[in-house]
């Protein structure tokens, strides 16, 4: 039996409030395409970051070529022959392809003077790209290339580094079908060269096409490693999800009430082209669509974060003029942004500060804040939402993703909002916390709120929505009731109906 190139034994990693990796073993052989499969929050990214030196493991061994190694920095990872191609590519847009490939390792004409051998660099870049069968000139600026070609440049860079293990983190998530084919061709080529490949994905169809072996992670644990021929799609889903749909999506039915929000023919400079819809009390309105379809833009436009070029917004039948988020909050809207850290929270401030920020005016008396009442309210909301740890003096930064999301929700409950727009409410939080978020959404419904839920995860959309809108290129291209919606129908509408 051949020795694996990479052996992981008992890798553990904890973050405040979350066990990201729990005793994970993994073997990856040279010349193998090893798919790492798991839902968001299963621990895939953490594992990768430990391999690339971005995080340090808390416990466990990393063994390369039979020798235990320490990977303390990204540089050490590169020296060990580990290259990673991240979702957000790490290229410098305004430099040429050749400059990017040899960044920091430029071939020198006169090493003492640091003068770069331009010709050599160009030639070697061209050779690498040719080897990959990629028709890109080394002189072109990276910003002028499409995403697929940029990925090729990253792969060429990995080759130039003599990488023996290439990690690809969801490389196909933003590629067209043709680009994906091209990528797969190149990945197989790397395999032929005897390079080990870790391919992170949650697209099951791709796995069938490319995987030699699949390792499934769930909630930070390794669930199974299966070789080609040993797995079928159904089985993988079961392993990945690990619980029944009903447990995962605790959907409740509430009687639909009055129309809470009506949007008529909204146009914006951010790409919305005549969007109209209504949302009702007691209803979860799911909004599906591909990245860039205009879902977040729609939420931002309604909430006054971006200006409207044209169109009207009605709340409980009253036309409202929303010019800024302040107006939206006054009208009873709440917007839970997709990125908690950059748009939802003031990370350096306390939980209490964050919870009371949007509704702070209610604590004003004679022009001054009633601090006692402010903290009592914050404490009460934190308790209601089971924020852990229950310490409202703690900085928001120190909470786990799920608890941060609860703090954001508490902030909006504090404003007494009636219409909640959730943008990717469960992104980056673990499975248990997701269920808690869904239960909170249920509570909102029972209290007569209207909920609009934007999500890129179709199971979540299908599992939690009463009604589903599908967007594509700034327009609404489909509307389905819960009973009639399927993944296929939604995907068809999301790709513009072709």
């Amino acid at each position: 039996m051949r020795e694996p190139f990479l052996k992981l034994r008992g890798i553990c990693k904890r973050f405040p409030g979350v066990v990201a990796l729990d005793n994970v073993d993994l073997d990856v052989y040279s010349g193998e395409i090893h798919v790492l499969l798991g839902e968001n929050g299963a621990g895939k990214s953490t594992l990768i970051k430990i391999l690339t030196g971005a995080y340090q493991k808390d416990a466990g061994e990393i063994i390369i070529d039979g020798k235990e190694v320490q990977i303390r920095t990204p540089r050490e990872a590169l020296q060990l022959g580990i290259s990673c191609i991240y979702q957000e590519l790490n290229l410098i847009p305004h430099l040429s392809v050749a400059e990017n490939i040899f960044l920091g390792r430029e071939p020198k004409l006169l090493p003492a003077l640091g003068i770069i051998d331009l010709k050599d660099r160009y030639k070697r870049s061209a050779a690498l790209l040719k080897e990959l069968g990629c028709a890109v000139s080394p002189g072109v600026k990276v910003k002028d290339l499409g995403l697929g070609k940029q990925q090729m440049v990253e792969i060429a860079k990995a080759l130039s580094l003599n990488a023996r293990l290439v990690i690809m983190d969801e490389p196909t998530s933003s590629l067209s079908e043709k680009e994906v084919e091209e990528l797969f061709r190149v990945v197989r080529q790397l395999k032929e060269k005897g390079i080990a490949i870790i391919f992170v994905s949650h697209k099951l169809e791709e796995i069938r096409q490319i995987a030699d072996r699949v390792t499934v992670l769930r909630d930070g644990r390794k669930v199974a490693t299966l070789a080609r021929g040993e797995f079928d799609i159904e089985e993988l889903i079961k392993l990945m999800v690990g619980r029944t749909l009903k447990e995962k999506f605790p959907k409740i039915n509430v009687r639909r009430g009055r129309e809470a929000l009506r949007v008529e023919d909204i146009w914006t400079d951010t790409g919305l082209k005549g969007v109209s819809f209504s949302a009702y009390e007691g209803e979860v309105l799911g909004i599906a669509g591909l990245v860039g379809a205009g879902r977040t833009e729609l939420a931002r436009a309604i909430f006054g974060a971006d200006p409207l070029r044209k169109g009207n917004i009605f709340i409980y039948g009253q036309r409202v003029d929303i010019k800024c988020p302040e107006d939206a909050i006054r009208a009873g809207l709440a917007f839970l942004t997709e990125d908690r850290k950059t748009q939802g929270l003031i990370l350096g401030e306390s939980v209490a500060f964050n919870i009371t920020l949007a509704g702070i005016k209610q604590f004003r008396r004679w022009g001054f804040l009633d601090i006692r009442r402010q903290f009592e309210t914050a404490e009460q909301l934190a308790r209601d939402l089971k924020v852990k740890p229950l310490d409202i003096r703690r900085k928001a930064r120190e909470l786990s993703g799920g608890n941060q999301q609860k703090v954001v929700l508490a902030k909006w409950l504090c404003t007494r909002a009636k219409i909640f727009i959730f943008d990717e409410p469960t992104r980056g939080i673990d499975v248990g916390a997701k269920v808690e978020v869904y239960n909170l959404i249920n509570q909102l419904l029972q209290n007569g709120a209207a909920v609009i839920m934007i999500s890129s995860e179709l199971p979540e959309i299908l599992g939690m929505s009463d009604r589903i809108l599908v967007m594509s290129e700034g327009r609404i291209t489909g509307e389905f009731l819960r009973e009639e919606a399927t993944q296929e129908k939604i995907m068809k509408a999301a790709t513009g109906g072709y």
Binding site: P325, E326, L345, I346, G348, S350, L357, A358, R364, R393
Partner: protein
Amino acid sequence: MLKTVSEKAVKEPDIQAEGKINWKDLLYSLGALLGLILLSAVLTVLSPDFLTLNNLMNIARQSAINSLISVGMLLTILTAGIDLSVGSVLALSTVVMAILIIKLHVSPFIGVLAGLCLGAFLGFMNGILLTKLHLPHPFISTLGTMNIARGLALIVTGATPISGFPFSVQFLGAAFWGPIPVSFMLVLVVFIIFHLFLTRTTTGRYIYAVGGNPEAARLSGVPVERVLVIVYTLSGFMAAVAGLVLIGRVNAAYPLAGLGYELDAIAAVIIGGASFFGGVGTVWGTLVGALIMAVLRNGLNLLGVSADLQTVAIGAVIIGAVYIDVLRQRAINKGRR
């Protein structure tokens, strides 16, 4: 990574009033104060003249102008901004007071009021340049107004000082109440007001929110642009107030007054534990920062150290104070992991 530089000050003393005392935070807020006490102790040993009522009151008086400017500067730094124009705003508003009161014989009250309003107006313009013209950073907008205000001060005075204020105008800067300089009492009153403003009003809390994360603040309904305009207006206003104290001390207004004051104010705010990246800092930290600078200058004077060498020392203190903060922050992060 950069964000970690400074997180010491107690942002919400009111939380602590709520029962449990957060000792860690308390210790951080005391960091600069401990430095001040240590510095004073050393100077007491080295110079018999240091710990005398007379000298302490001297320090109080000498620190007043910088303190007043610093509290305005603190607001801008809390929003992750900066106000380079304060020294020039001080100069322009004082020479305008001088021209109105001394040359044009306007009533002192109206003249002073006009000068203060001018300071506030210049600050307001800084805010407008930043929020409406969308200049990329207040460093640039206030660098512009710094030059404009300085130039105007030179033009309107013909580059010569104007002296001969009535005592009523000099009162704040020159008068004493018993042994205590009125200017220092003004500082205490102003700082208490700003403390209440920052901790007990919505606008004050918004300032921290804007500095901590402007996008999240905006999406939480914080009128970010209005907050910024208020902050720069107050900074300009405080520069003019400091100018009024300067008038009292030297009984003159001169167009080159306040040169480099912006840098002293920035130093006081930073020594006092505020983060240059916004969202962190307190008025009391800033007061301690201003006092540290004044004590250092005073002590070195007493010890006969040359003015040039004093400047070197101040520079070293700024670097040292922030470096200690970096170390402490690193220790916290390690402890957390």
